[in-house]
């Protein structure tokens, strides 16, 4: 499939641009002003506890849920316009394929719905089956598939025809650890092909391993978003100086709290994340040779728990 191109700019269209998404069911607000941006070839993870609104966002991008307010475009078209879905593959969170069809027939149906020319279908189907590791089972009936195989078939329909954008809603929920690793590899290979991916997951490790951008949602609001490295950057630094004496300690204490100390090494919780260069300068000015100054990455889990866990109590 050729990449959709914005006729005005001549550049590839942005896969997802959504601003101010709002949705309420009766008097329960599900989305409260959500902004999401997925650039060409980006892998964006959508994180949040159950009920945060992740699936509602995905469904609104596909035109399955009607928004109360906000603008969303998918591949340059308004979300909900069927033509927006030409270059899109989707794995629903809950799905079922007709048990009386075999895997290849399911993909044949989807290839037709996608409008793939007949001549291209067999190769596209074989490619999709191969990509998800179902190559040998394509002729078996779906009714005989295990949950994990059905999940793979769902992934195969999502990547069929080399879409520009793939939306995966909890793609590893039914998979064993090996299957999960294969899905991560699949997402990486999609990125290598230049496919943008929106990954909806509550498995933080999964998101951390494959996504370059993340959006953390809680109760219908975006509580943090950005490049993974920026979001997960921590406020802790590990400092090792030639001699950690009282003077060195007083310099450190001027920048934050010393959380731990071991010989000439201290673990410092900075008051200001951006103060690392100033800290280095201050130590050098006072004559303390720096052996090591390492800003520590926090795990995504720590960030997530800080952001979402704190609001959990108020539920």
């Amino acid at each position: 499939m050729t990449a959709a191109v914005d006729p005005a700019a001549g550049a590839p269209t942005v896969p997802i641009v959504a601003t101010g998404l709002r949705k309420a069911y009766r008097n329960r607000t599900v989305l409260d002003g959500v902004d999401i941006h997925v650039g060409p070839g980006q892998v964006v993870g959508l994180l949040g506890p159950n009920g945060a609104g992740k699936t509602t966002i995905v469904k609104s991008l596909l035109g399955m849920v009607h928004l109360d307010a906000g603008d969303a475009t998918v591949l340059g078209r308004p979300a909900g316009d069927p033509t927006a879905r030409r270059g899109l593959g989707y794995l629903p969170e809950q799905f079922q394929y007709p048990g009386w069809l075999d895997g290849r027939q399911v993909l044949e149906v989807h290839a037709r719905l996608l409008g793939l020319p007949q001549a291209e279908r067999p190769a596209a189907i074989a490619d999709a089956l191969h990509l998800v590791g179902l190559g040998g089972r394509g002729d078996d009936r779906v009714a005989g598939y295990s949950k994990g195989m059905q999940q793979r078939l769902g992934l195969a329909t999502a990547v069929l025809g080399q879409p520009e954008l793939v939306i995966l809603d909890e793609p590893t929920s039914a998979l064993d650890p090996i299957g999960r690793r294969e899905v991560r590899d699949l997402i990486r290979s999609l990125r290598d092909r230049g496919t943008a991916v929106l990954l909806n997951s509550h498995l933080l490790g999964e998101v951390e391993q494959v996504c370059d951008h993340i959006v953390i949602l809680d109760r219908g609001r975006v509580v943090r978003s950005g490049a993974l490295a920026d979001v997960a950057v921590g406020a802790e630094v590990r400092v090792t100086v030639e001699r950690l004496d009282d003077d060195a300690l007083s310099v450190l204490q001027g920048f934050g709290r010393i959380a731990a100390r071991d010989g000439d090494t201290a673990l410092l919780e900075l008051d200001d994340v951006a103060a690392v260069p100033a800290l280095a300068a201050a130590l050098v000015t006072r004559g303390h040779g720096i052996c090591e100054l390492v800003p520590l990455q926090r795990s995504l889990e720590d960030v997530f728990v800080d952001l979402v866990g704190s609001t959990e109590e108020g539920r």
Binding site: Y97, W100, V109
Partner: protein, 277 residues
Amino acid sequence: MTVVLLTLREAANRKVLLVGAVISTAFLLLFWLGFAVGFDQAASEGGDPMESAVAATLMTVLGLYAVQFLAAFMAVLLASGAVAPEIESGRLHAVLARPISRTSWLAQRAGTFAALASAYIVVMSGAILTIASGVAGYAAIAPGRAMGLLALEVVVLVALGTALSVRLSAIAAGVVVIALYGAAWIAGIMEIVGTVLGNDTLQRIGVAVSLVIPSDGLWRGGSYYLLSPVYVAGTSADNAIPFAGYGAPSVAFIAWAIAYAAGWCLLADRWFRRRDL
């Protein structure tokens, strides 16, 4: 067309077509046997052409009445599960993530069910009339018109069932349509009784219900065209067959039935497009 093929495959794989074909063949064999035995007896006992015509007409109309019942239930069962189970199972989400509009999906699905039920009417009515013609030389007033009206009856039921299946579960939609179908049937009988007794109130109730759901009115209109001309010439409305028609349906009623089906189709589309999936 992909959704049409998928829906046909679904019907085939759910054994709807196979079971329908087996039962219908058994039904036709039974009808042929009963018709042959009954007609022979009526012909040998009386020899009166009017009596033979009455016997042949009664048996033919009874056979077609059963066909109409089977087709109506088939239409209701198919249509009442048109939408809700597809949403609940998640089958619909995978399909609608493709570049296909909701309207197109619904039209293809309901259209396939309507075509299946209509084809059933045409094939089975054709078979019954062929048997009647072969055994008794039976000729109906206008078989084509009859089939058209009976097909319109199942289309009405498919349209109603599909619309309700957007809002209700399959079971609830099926129960509502069957209840309305039953109400129309009873109202049709009341209308006949009202005509025989000369009771205006009963007649009006019958007419009112046939406006709420025109299924029984369409059967009556269709069944009139299935009568033999000899039988019609020799009887009056007062001693008509209670479950069949005794006069040609009005153009206004047929127009109402078409508008009724179209109205439910439009409503089904509107509800479906507005629904969050």
